[in-house]
Amino acid sequence: MTEAAVVSADAVGMRFGGQQAIDNLSFEVHDGEFVAIVGPSGCGKSTTLRIVSGLATATSGTVRAHGSEVMRPLQDAAMVFQAPVLLPWRRTVENILLTAEMRGEPAAAHRERAGKLARLAGLEGFERHYPHELSGGMQQRVSICRALLLDPSLLLMDEPFGALDVMTREKMGFELQRIWTATRNTVLFVTHSISEAILLSDRILVMSPRPGRIKTDIPVALERPRSVETLKDPRFGELAVTVREQIETT
């Protein structure tokens, strides 16, 4: 392999006090890939994302981003959490612009792109609304736009649709696919939903129960764009069965 992976985790371990949360966890994510992580609750998915982003430091092993070891928070990564965590005093566009302001760049230079992203995410007409004037799904779309503003080399998503109802969740999944098709950022996506993982990703990493490690790496060869039709594809059903078996057998 010539090109360095965007992320490579090598034998990563994490202890909290006496508890081993993650042990001997290794995987790679390549440029432009959409990789999903699934696994039982408490197996260390969120912890893995925090270590990859540099927000937390592993107690053993190494994580590299673009070939260099991650020692502090990555400066060109972005994170989307389960909760949208918008700033209540900022309107939609200003919330999206926060990323640029935090990097110390003038907001004005990014206003156009922020508006474009908002339209891409279906927020047209809501650019001047405050978070409390938006629905939960819309707030989460704002937080996705905020993460995409500076075209991050790595987008980390931790159950971004976990707080939404089933219908909105499915719609948001397809919307994320549409946005991603246009931007092609490298994505590491944690989810509890097997079908969401299959519909969105190129590859699914299944984690074992605690202490978490990567148990299986399942490629998803379904052609894009995927839609409601994909759900009826027999290969979708087979994949879903495989992933479920991998999660459930220890």
């Binding site: 982003s53 990323t99 935090m102």
Partner: protein, 253 residues
């Protein structure tokens, strides 16, 4: 209920109370030094207007100076406990203990130490205003979802940028709320200071009214103080409207 009906309801009930007060005081011939009728208070208020203004100006100056000092010191202390972890365990218990002392009780001591001038009044206003400002500012600066801070770090946010664009903005409504509490408290401090010593301020005017059994003057002073308090609270409300508009629209829901 819309604003106009709310307003008229308030005015109407105030009017009813005043009329009832006036009628009852006259009907039972209550002596003026016990409870003057509103008309006498009103008359006194206009008669003594120039003295009133002069004295409230002194009181306002000491109150606002103390309040401003409380704002500066309170926010600085809040910054210290937010950013300097080791000092937190010293400052917070010290403050809790300090707040346990009824500050009014040390007012005579302040007069002993600082004399009869403006200083003990300013100091009392400062001491009374300090606690709510400090507590609210510290809460506003530190109670931020950790996810927000993580996000900011990942986009390259420095501590200073996070302070300016996240912590400070988060603290502003808390500080505005604190000002609404601290302002009347500082005024209490200033007036108590005037009661205890000196010959200036609305507190002294109240004392002279009481001494001369000029109860209408005492009530006229209360009217002046109420007007002053309303102006102060109104100023904070204007600040909120201009700078914290998002919050008002959030509350209205």
């Amino acid at each position: 209920m819309n604003r106009v009906t709310k307003w008229s309801a308030t005015c109407a009930s105030a009017g009813i109370i005043l009329v009832a007060w006036e009628t009852l005081v006259r009907r039972f011939e209550v002596p003026e030094y016990l409870l003057p009728p509103p008309s006498a208070i009103w008359q006194k208020f206009w008669q003594t207007l120039s003295v009133q203004l002069e004295e409230i100006a002194f009181t306002a100056a000491t109150t606002l100076t103390g309040l401003l000092a409380a704002l500066v010191v309170g926010v600085l202390l809040a910054l210290v406990v937010t950013y300097v972890e080791p000092l937190r365990s010293i400052v917070l218990p010290a403050f809790a203990a300090f707040n346990g002392i009824p500050k009014i009780a040390i007012a005579p001591l302040l007069v002993t130490w600082f004399g009869l001038g403006a200083e003990p009044k300013i100091l009392l206003a400062f001491l009374l205003g300090l606690f709510p400002i400090f507590v609210n500012a510290a809460t506003g600066l530190s109670e931020i979802e950790p996810d927000v801070i993580d996000l900011a770090r990942l986009s390259g946010g420095t501590e200073f940028r996070i302070f300016r664009k996240v912590r400070l903005m988060n603290a502003l409504p808390y500080i505005a709320d604190a000002m609404k509490v601290a302002f009347p408290l500082a005024l209490v401090g200033a007036i108590v200071g005037e009661f205890i010593g000196g010959n200036r301020g609305i507190g002294q005017l109240i004392l002279s009214g009481q001494f001369n059994l000029d109860t209408p003057l005492v009530f006229a002073c209360l009217v002046t103080i109420t007007v002053f308090t309303s102006v102060g609270i109104g100023a904070v409300a204007v600040f909120e409207r201009v700078f914290l508009g998002w919050r008002l629209s959030q509350r209205r829901r």
